[in-house]
């Protein structure tokens, strides 16, 4: 399949992109790495009149060390984060997650902002950033606002973004030295979206204890009780029954098979957390 005809413009800066989006009146779409939008264009599932290419905007391309947090530009590719392994003090999980997305060819183009905006329930960033207590910086014509990463995705392929808004950056608080984390996903094959995924972050110093389960029908869901128990009593609290119950409560729509799969993945993420 070939895409239906569309116009193309390359935005010079965020303001220009926002203006063009607004003008497009719902018929314009941002193009970042094209790794999700490209296939949708070719299958003619997405039929924008105008594509606004934001992939060359310098202001979206930074990875900045802001003392207690990392500011990641929306246009930063997965592979740049992957290659920053060892250099992201307090943000090692970012490099780990980035390196596990798809395969290198996709990572070379796909961006963290594009992934959030696309809001695939099985994607890595919505899950990982929720567990990391990150915030999404959104810019529209009216100005800029912040939304917690775990509020950003509303449901499958639907986000907080208004028609003229763009994801500008993601603010990821640094984990303290004593923090532990575990990230696990079960993919049927390398590079495939996961069948089930889970992220766990325990940072006693920052009083952060989060477990999220992903690859559901909608946004990743928190397992708050299990996270608290894990933080307080360690792995011993995470029995098979406790995990199953937590998953069932967080995602009641799962059938027995899916629940089992997700519970298994949560268990693995917990194992990794306590091995870290």
């Amino acid at each position: 399949m070939k895409a239906a005809a569309f116009d193309y413009m390359r935005a010079r800066d965020v303001a220009e992109a926002c203006a063009a989006l607004a003008q497009g009146n719902g018929k314009a779409k941002l193009l970042a790495g094209g790794q999700s939008l490209g296939p949708m264009l070719n299958l003619r599932l997405a039929r924008p009149k105008l594509l606004i290419d934001v992939s060359r905007i310098q202001a979206l391309a930074g990875i900045e060390d802001k003392a207690d947090a990392w500011h990641i530009g929306a246009g930063v590719t997965h592979s740049r984060l992957e290659d920053a392994a060892g250099k992201l003090g307090g943000g090692a999980m970012l490099a780990h997650v980035a390196g596990g997305i798809a395969y290198r060819a996709v990572r070379n183009r796909g961006t963290i902002g594009g992934s959030l905006a696309h809001a695939d329930p099985a994607a890595d960033w919505p899950l990982a950033l929720a567990a990391l207590d990150a915030a999404v910086v959104i810019r529209g014509r009216a100005g800029s606002r912040r939304v917690a990463a775990d509020r950003f995705m509303k449901s499958a392929f639907t986000t907080e973004l208004a028609a003229d808004e763009i994801v500008e950056a993601i603010i990821v608080p640094k984990l303290s030295a004593g923090a532990r984390w575990g990230y696990h996903k079960f993919c049927r094959k390398t590079g495939e979206f996961p069948e089930a995924s889970a992220a766990c972050v325990l940072d006693p110093e920052r009083r952060l204890a989060r477990i999220y389960v992903g690859a559901l029908t909608g946004a990743p869901q928190p397992l708050a009780g299990l996270a608290r128990a894990a933080a307080e009593r360690g792995l011993a609290a995470c029995t098979r029954e406790a995990i199953h119950e937590a998953v069932a409560a967080a995602a009641p729509q799962l059938d027995a098979i899916d629940r089992r799969m997700h519970a298994g993945v949560v268990a693995r993420a917990l194992q990794k957390t306590f091995q870290s």
Binding site: F186, R188, K189, R260, A267
Partner: protein, 785 residues
């Protein structure tokens, strides 16, 4: 010159162009004024076409069946019992019978433009009830895929030999339902065809991605009422065939029709991945109900098989659905020695794409069914499955052996292959580890499977199916060039098999000419002798045999000229490594070529007027096939919490007779086995109750990638076939046959303590977990461990 003949590890000559991206595929071709073609395909599985509305002003670029004046419809005959001919229009007419069936063809300057036009065509289709399940459709007569048929059974084969007598004494009876899901073949390159009328040659020039250019020429000429001299088919580089491209495709007929209608203008169609996954979901789907009868040690006595093949909507020209039906019935008994067999095989028409023979043909299915049953018997009698296999294999002392379906197994030591694979996988080591248990809670299992594979089966086999085209002699044309090189022309087609190298090795074996100076030409009806093409693991046996014969025919001529050049008697010279060697001196093939082409005054007066070129035909002494065979073994780790299967080790011991090039055989084995792993664990074209395909992109249709295919260890045995040139046997398909059987047996071995057994491909996490849930097996993995 290094050793380059039969058995040498010569590097593939064709790899340089492929690895540097310099291959030349239909998609790479661009001719002045070329138009691109798109197809509007049926959105419903079964329906009556009420109206096709062409967009205003674009009527000239839109073609429906009625517009294709002069184009015939395809109908493949067969004399198999109860076989029913299905008429397939190049563009659907009256009814649509599967999602993806082409209805309208559109033409544009670019593919995108052609798709834009297709999008504007209005289709009014009245939905009809849909038939998606072969099992229930067997008995369905009310709703029919083809109204002119009384029912939906496209063909049925009943076989019986010694069944009652043998089954009677059985101490052990094992029943199993075993199913294979539908699959697409997914070659890297899909269909691709470019056609134009060449006024100078007065020929329709067709570049098409096919395994069988000469067959396509017959087909195109027939469908479009042309003389065969008016059609030239060129199959350039082809990115994989696997059976998908051994038949005439409706798209080929349509594009050729355009080229005839608008003479001088080139038209091209390239299948895209979505079209392939939807309209090309056409293989593997077999359903078996087996009852095996054995003695108390597991010695097989008799087998009763009820087989349903989900044949899809059409029986494709020329090989028909009879091929799959016949092979399933005839090959189910596999490498085993038993004398009671009863089979009823029905091929059922459904609202899916027409079934095609995929690498391994029915044998991947029958091997899966048979090998799962052997393991079930072993569990029933409480023995190691590999030992039960050992007790049932045809002994080498019985070779050649005519099995219960009269298949003639020419040679081999089936026991040796199984013994070796057992040794190499090191069963005791894994049994020990199984006892200890894994620290991560996964379960280990070991599986075995054995098969034998009819390869290069010829005239008598195909004639028995009553097809309109039956393979016979394959021919090779060889020609020494004026500088002492060699051109070899063959009618089979090389699309990944390494034939540009291995066929040159055959010529080198006879004539001693450096492989670098031998050009193997194929894939062009204008340049090569007739052949039915590349399929059924036949090319090396058939075309290789013909090349040997043709090269051998040149030797006396070379001796004659050589002797004359040295002024000695013919009976005093011999041919050796590209030279004619006399008592005192020798002359090279280049000297002889110079004499024939450039310095004819040096030739003997009674020189053979055939010159330095010849065509020879070949078929094996016995044409029922050379039987390759193999045993595979694998170790898996099964995670019963998430339902994953990891392959920890995989060993192949195979025997394809004399090896022409061990590296090429390894490559074929690995590629085939990768596809087999796909069948076992990943690939599935599923349908909903309305016949809508649910896997139309690679997001839903999973293929094994490099990390899913383990580093397989391969050992070759070499039992030459008594019937073929050099003793070679076909081996192109074998790799794809055993993996589903091996991997399921391994998984079932891992789960045997849980009372869970799986027998439907592919083994997805959902299927695995569903079986565990049904059996009430809780996961074993805890976070704390």
């Amino acid at each position: 010159m290094a050793e380059q003949g039969i058995g040498a590890r010569v590097r593939r000559k064709e790899d340089a162009r492929f690895l540097h991206g310099r291959g030349n595929y239909v998609t790479d071709m661009l001719l002045p004024g070329q138009k691109e073609v798109a197809f509007l395909r049926s959105p419903v599985a079964h329906g009556r076409i009420r109206r096709i509305g062409k967009p205003k002003g674009l009527e000239h670029a839109v073609f429906a069946r009625e517009d294709l004046v002069g184009a015939e419809s395809m109908a493949a005959p067969s004399t198999l019992p109860g076989y029913k001919v299905s008429t397939q229009h190049p563009l659907a007419y009256g009814k649509v019978r599967f999602v993806g069936e082409p209805i309208v063809m559109t033409v544009g300057a670019t593919r995108a433009e052609a798709e834009d036009i297709a999008e504007q065509v209005e289709l009014d289709i009245e939905d009809l009830p849909v038939l998606v399940d072969a099992q229930t459709t067997r008995a369905q007569t009310e709703i029919r895929v083809h109204e002119e048929w009384p029912d939906n059974v496209a063909c049925q084969i009943n076989f019986e030999s010694g069944f009652e007598a043998k089954a009677r004494d059985a101490a052990v009876v094992v029943k199993r339902d075993i199913d294979l899901s539908r699959q697409a073949m997914v070659p890297l390159e899909g269909k691709a065809v470019l056609a134009f009328w060449d006024e100078r040659m007065s020929q329709l020039m067709v570049y098409t991605s096919t395994q069988a250019p000469h067959i396509i020429r017959i087909g195109i000429a027939q469908m479009l009422h042309l003389e065969e001299t008016q059609v030239r088919i060129i199959s350039p580089d082809v990115g994989g065939g696997f059976g998908y491209k051994c038949i005439l495709q409706p798209e080929e007929v349509c594009v050729c029709w355009l080229a005839l209608k608008y003479k001088g203008k080139p038209f091209r169609y390239i299948e895209d991945r979505r079209e392939h996954l939807v309209a090309g979901a056409n293989s593997r789907q077999h359903h078996y109900k087996l009852t095996a009868y054995a003695d108390k040690t597991g010695r097989l006595l008799a087998l009763d098989a009820d087989i349903a093949i989900d044949g899809g909507a059409y029986s494709m020209w020329p090989y028909t659905i009879g091929l799959e039906t016949g092979q399933a019935t005839g090959n189910l008994p596999g490498p085993y020695d038993f004398r009671g067999y009863r089979a009823k095989t029905q091929c059922v028409a459904t609202n899916k794409p027409g079934f095609l023979p995929y690498r391994g043909v029915a044998r991947t299915g029958v091997c899966f069914a048979m090998e799962l049953v052997i393991d079930a018997i072993a569990r029933e009698v409480g023995r190691e499955p590999w030992e039960v296999r050992m007790d049932n294999l045809v002994p080498t002392t019985a070779m050649p052996y005519d099995n219960v379906t009269k298949k003639h197994y020419d040679s081999g030591d089936y026991h040796k292959a199984l013994r070796l694979v057992h040794e190499k996988i090191d069963l005791p080591k894994w049994r020990e580890r199984q006892k200890r248990g894994e620290p991560d809670g996964r379960l280990i299992g070991v599986g075995f499977a054995s098969y034998c594979e009819q390869s290069a089966h010829g005239t008598s086999v195909f004639a028995a199916w009553g097809l309109s085209i039956v393979p016979g002699y394959d021919q090779a044309m060889v020609k020494i060039t004026p500088d002492g090189g060699l051109e070899v022309r063959i009618g089979v087609h090389n699309h990944g098999q390494g034939m540009e190298t291995t066929m040159a090795q055959v010529a080198n074996q006879i004539l001693g000419i450096d492989v670098a100076k031998i050009q193997v030409m194929h894939g062009d009806t204008g340049l090569t002798p007739f052949s039915t093409g590349t399929y059924a693991s036949r090319s090396m046996v058939m075309a290789g045999g013909a090349i040997a014969k043709a090269c051998q025919a040149l030797v006396p001529r070379l001796l004659h000229i050589g002797a004359h050049l040295m002024q000695c008697a013919v009976n005093s010279v011999r041919y050796e490594n590209g030279k004619v060697v006399g008592p005192q001196s020798s002359v090279t093939i280049t000297d002889i070529a110079h004499a024939w082409y450039r310095l004819p005054f040096r030739l003997p007066p009674d020189v053979d007027l055939g010159g330095l070129e010849t065509v020879m035909a070949y078929k094996p002494k016995v044409d029922t096939g050379a039987f390759s065979y193999a045993s595979h073994a694998a170790v898996v780790a099964v995670d019963i919490e998430v339902g994953s299967v990891e392959i920890l080790d995989y060993v192949i011991v195979e025997d394809c007779g004399t090896l022409v090039n061990p590296m090429v055989v390894d490559g074929q084995m690995l590629g085939g086995a990768a596809q087999g792993i796909g069948t076992a664990l990943y690939e599935e074209s599923h349908y909903d109750a309305n016949g809508q395909p649910l896997a139309s992109t690679f997001a839903d249709y999973l293929l094994p990638g490099p990390t899913e295919v383990p580093a397989m260890r391969i050992t070759h045995l070499q039992t030459p076939s008594p019937y073929t040139e050099f003793g070679v046997k076909g081996m192109g398909e074998g790799g794809a046959i055993a993996p589903p059987a091996v991997l399921f047996n391994a998984v079932n071995d891992a789960l045997k303590g849980l009372g869970v057994e799986l027998n439907e491909t592919p083994l997805t996490p959902r299927r695995l977990l569903a079986a565990l849930e049904r059996a009430g097996v809780k996961g074993g993995m805890r976070a704390a461990s």
